[in-house]
C-alpha cells in the first residue's frame, strides 16, 4: 500500500519569533525554517511501515511556496520515495490544505495518510481531522502508537486523562504526537541520493478548488510581557512572599 505523508515548512521550533510592528503578521524573513516536528514523526512512522513490509511507497506532500522544496528534500533524505509540491504563494487555511490533500489522495490512492497533530506555526490542529472528514475515512488523532493488524490499526491516542486505544479500519488518517517515535537523522549519502529523487511540482490553482480564506486576519499582536520577578534566597523567604501576596 502507498502511504501519504503531509509535511509543512515552518519556522524552526528554536526560533523566538517576532511580531511585525505593523501588526500584519509574524516576521519569517531570514529565520531558520524546518519541517514541522510532528511531520517528522509522521514520516518516520511511514518509513517504519515500509521497513515492516506494510507500505510499498512513501509519498511526501507539501503545500507552500518554492522554498517548501527544501522541506521535501529533507523528507526524501529521510527516506521518502518521492515528493509532491503543491505550489501556492499564500499558504491556504487548514480547510484548503485538507481539500488539496484529498485531491492527492484521489490521484494516488494511498491507504493511509499521516499528518502531524498540529503545525507549530498556526497551532490549528485541524487539517488531519478535516482530511478524514472530506474522505469519509476513520481518524486516529494524537497517536502515540500504531499497530497494524490486517486491514485495521490498533491506535493508541494521548488524551487529557491518559491513553485510549481505538481500532480504525483502512483507509485511515493518522495524526501524530511527538511520542509516536524518534525520527531518524538522514545520513550524508542519503542527503546526496535525495537530490536525485523526483519532486513533482503542481500549481494549487490547477485543482480547481476555491482556496480563498474564510478567516480574515484582522491583526497579529505580541502578547503582554510578564514583569520580571525577583530571586529569593531560600524556601523560607519564598513562603513569606507567597503569604504576603495572599497566595498561600
Amino acid at each position: 500500500m502507498k502511504v501519504l505523508v503531509a509535511v509543512k515548512r515552518v519556522v524552526d521550533y528554536n526560533v523566538r519569533i517576532r511580531v511585525k510592528s505593523d501588526g500584519s503578521g509574524v516576521d519569517t524573513d531570514n529565520v531558520v525554517m524546518s519541517m514541522n516536528p510532528f511531520d517528522e514523526n509522521g514520516l518516520e512512522e511511514a518509513l517504519r511501515m515500509k521497513q515492516a513490509g506494510i507500505a510499498t511507497e512513501v509519498i511526501a506532500v507539501s503545500v507552500g511556496d518554492e522554498k517548501s522544496q527544501d522541506t521535501l528534500r529533507s523528507a526524501l533524505a529521510m527516506g521518502a520515495d518521492r515528493a509532491i509540491l503543491i505550489k501556492a504563494d499564500q499558504t491556504p487555511e487548514p480547510l484548503g490544505i485538507a481539500k488539496l490533500l484529498a485531491k492527492v489522495v484521489e490521484q494516488e490512492g494511498p491507504q493511509v495518510a499521516i499528518l502531524g497533530k498540529q503545525a507549530i506555526d498556526d497551532d490549528s490542529n485541524q487539517t488531519g481531522q478535516m482530511l478524514a472528514a472530506l474522505l469519509d475515512w476513520s481518524q486516529g488523532t494524537f497517536a502515540s502508537n500504531a499497530e497494524f493488524d490486517g486491514d485495521a490499526i490498533n491506535l493508541t491516542r494521548e488524551t487529557d486523562t491518559g491513553l485510549e486505544t481505538i481500532k480504525i479500519s483502512l483507509p485511515a488518517v493518522i495524526t501524530t504526537d511527538l511520542r509516536l517515535n524518534d525520527p531518524r537523522l538522514p545520513k550524508l549519502p542519503d542527503i546526496m541520493k535525495a537530490k536525485k529523487k523526483p519532486i513533482d511540482i503542481v500549481d494549487a490553482s490547477s485543482y480547481g478548488i476555491d482556496l480563498s480564506p474564510r478567516l480574515e486576519v484582522v491583526s497579529v499582536a505580541a502578547p503582554a510581557e510578564r514583569e520580571p520577578g525577583i530571586i529569593v534566597a531560600d524556601a523560607a523567604e519564598l513562603v513569606n512572599k507567597l503569604k504576603e501576596a495572599g497566595a498561600l
Binding site: K117, R214, V217, A222, G229, A247
Partner: protein, 309 residues
C-alpha cells in the same frame, strides 16, 4: 444569536471545561443550547440543566456515543449545526478531535483555541506557541469554535433549570471502534482547573525522584504537572504535560521545578497568576517569567519548602 455548546463529559459528570465554554458563549450573547451526546449520561444531563445560562439541553443517547468517538460525535453535530449561529466546544482533546471534522463536512473553517471574543464574528487566538495573538474575523455562516478554557472564567454550575429535548442518533461510523482506555489515577486535583500546580522537569532526574514533586503537590493540595522532557523520560504520565502540545493551565501559583522554561513549556503556563521557579541554573529562561525564583538544587529547596508549609 443562537449558540450550540457541545458538552464534554464521561457519561458520569460534566467536565469543568464545558462551564468555561459556556462563559465564552455568554460573552458572544444569545440563546445557549447544550448538546449532551453520550450513553446513559442522565447525571450529565441533570448537571447541564443546572448550569448557568443554558436555555435548552439536547440529549442524544446511543451506545455509539459512549466513548466520544470523533466520527460519531461529529455526525450528530454536523446534522444540527446549521440551526445555530455559533457552535462552541472546549479546545480539549475531545473538542480538537471532532470539531474540525464538523467544519470540513460543513465546508467551513474552524476558529481554534480562542482566548477572547471581540465580537460575534471576531476572535483572538494564540499562534506560534502563544508568542503571537491573532485576531481573526470569520465569514462562515456558522462560527465553529474551540475555546481555551483557562481564558474564560467558568459560569456557575448551579442555579439553572434548562428544559431537555431528545434527539435520535443516526448511523454509527463503521470504520472506527473503541478498544480500551487507560485513565491515570490520581488523588490530586485536576490539572486543568487546580488552584496550585506543581510541575517537575528533566531536572528531577528519574521516575523515583519525581515523588518529590508528588509530595510537594500533596502538601499544597496541588495538581501535578510536568514538562515534555519529564513525560518523554517516563517520570510522569502524558496527561501531566503542560505546554504548547500538552495542557494549558493558569493556576494561582505555578511551581516550575527543574524545568528550563522552553517556549513550548511557557505556552502552557505563562498565564498563571504567580510563577515560582526552582532551578540551579540562574540563566534558565524560566527565570525571565517567574515572579519568584530560587537558584539552587531542587533536592535542597523542596524538602525545606515542605517544612516551611
Amino acid at each position: 444569536m443562537s449558540i450550540l455548546v457541545i458538552a464534554e463529559h464521561d457519561n458520569a459528570s460534566l467536565n469543568a471545561s464545558t462551564l468555561s465554554t459556556l462563559a465564552a458563549a455568554a460573552t458572544i450573547g444569545g440563546d445557549v443550547t447544550v448538546l449532551v451526546a453520550g450513553h446513559n449520561a442522565s447525571a450529565v444531563v441533570t448537571e447541564t440543566q443546572a448550569a448557568s445560562g443554558v436555555t435548552k439541553v439536547l440529549v442524544v443517547d446511543d451506545a455509539a456515543l459512549a466513548d466520544g468517538l470523533a466520527e460519531n460525535i461529529a455526525s450528530v453535530v454536523t446534522g444540527i449545526a446549521g440551526e445555530y449561529s455559533h457552535v462552541l466546544t472546549a479546545a480539549s482533546n475531545f473538542g480538537k478531535n471532532f470539531m474540525p471534522r464538523v467544519a470540513a463536512k460543513l465546508d467551513m473553517m474552524q476558529v481554534s483555541d480562542i482566548v477572547e471574543v471581540v465580537s460575534a464574528d471576531t476572535f483572538v487566538r494564540p499562534i506560534y506557541a502563544g508568542n503571537a495573538l491573532m485576531t481573526v474575523k470569520s465569514s462562515d455562516s456558522v462560527k465553529l469554535i474551540t475555546v481555551r478554557s483557562t481564558a474564560f472564567d467558568a459560569v456557575e454550575a448551579t442555579g439553572g433549570s434548562a428544559a431537555t429535548e431528545d434527539l435520535a442518533f443516526g448511523v454509527a461510523f463503521a470504520g472506527t471502534s473503541f478498544v480500551s482506555r487507560d485513565v491515570t489515577e490520581s488523588e490530586r486535583p485536576e490539572l486543568a482547573t487546580a488552584r496550585i500546580v506543581v510541575s517537575g522537569g528533566r531536572g528531577v532526574g528519574s521516575k523515583e525522584q519525581f515523588s518529590i514533586i508528588d509530595d510537594l503537590a500533596e502538601k499544597l493540595g496541588a495538581a501535578v504537572g510536568a514538562s515534555r522532557a519529564a513525560v518523554d523520560s517516563g517520570y510522569a504520565p502524558n496527561d501531566c504535560q503542560v505546554g504548547q502540545t500538552g495542557k494549558v493551565v493558569a493556576p494561582d501559583i505555578y511551581f516550575a521545578i527543574g524545568i528550563s522554561g522552553a517556549i513550548q513549556h511557557q505556552a502552557g503556563m505563562r498565564e498563571s497568576k504567580i510563577i515560582v521557579a526552582i532551578n540551579k541554573d540562574d540563566e534558565a529562561p524560566i527565570f525571565q517569567i517567574a515572579d519568584y525564583g530560587i537558584v539552587a538544587d531542587l533536592f535542597d529547596v523542596v524538602p525545606e519548602l515542605m517544612q516551611q508549609l
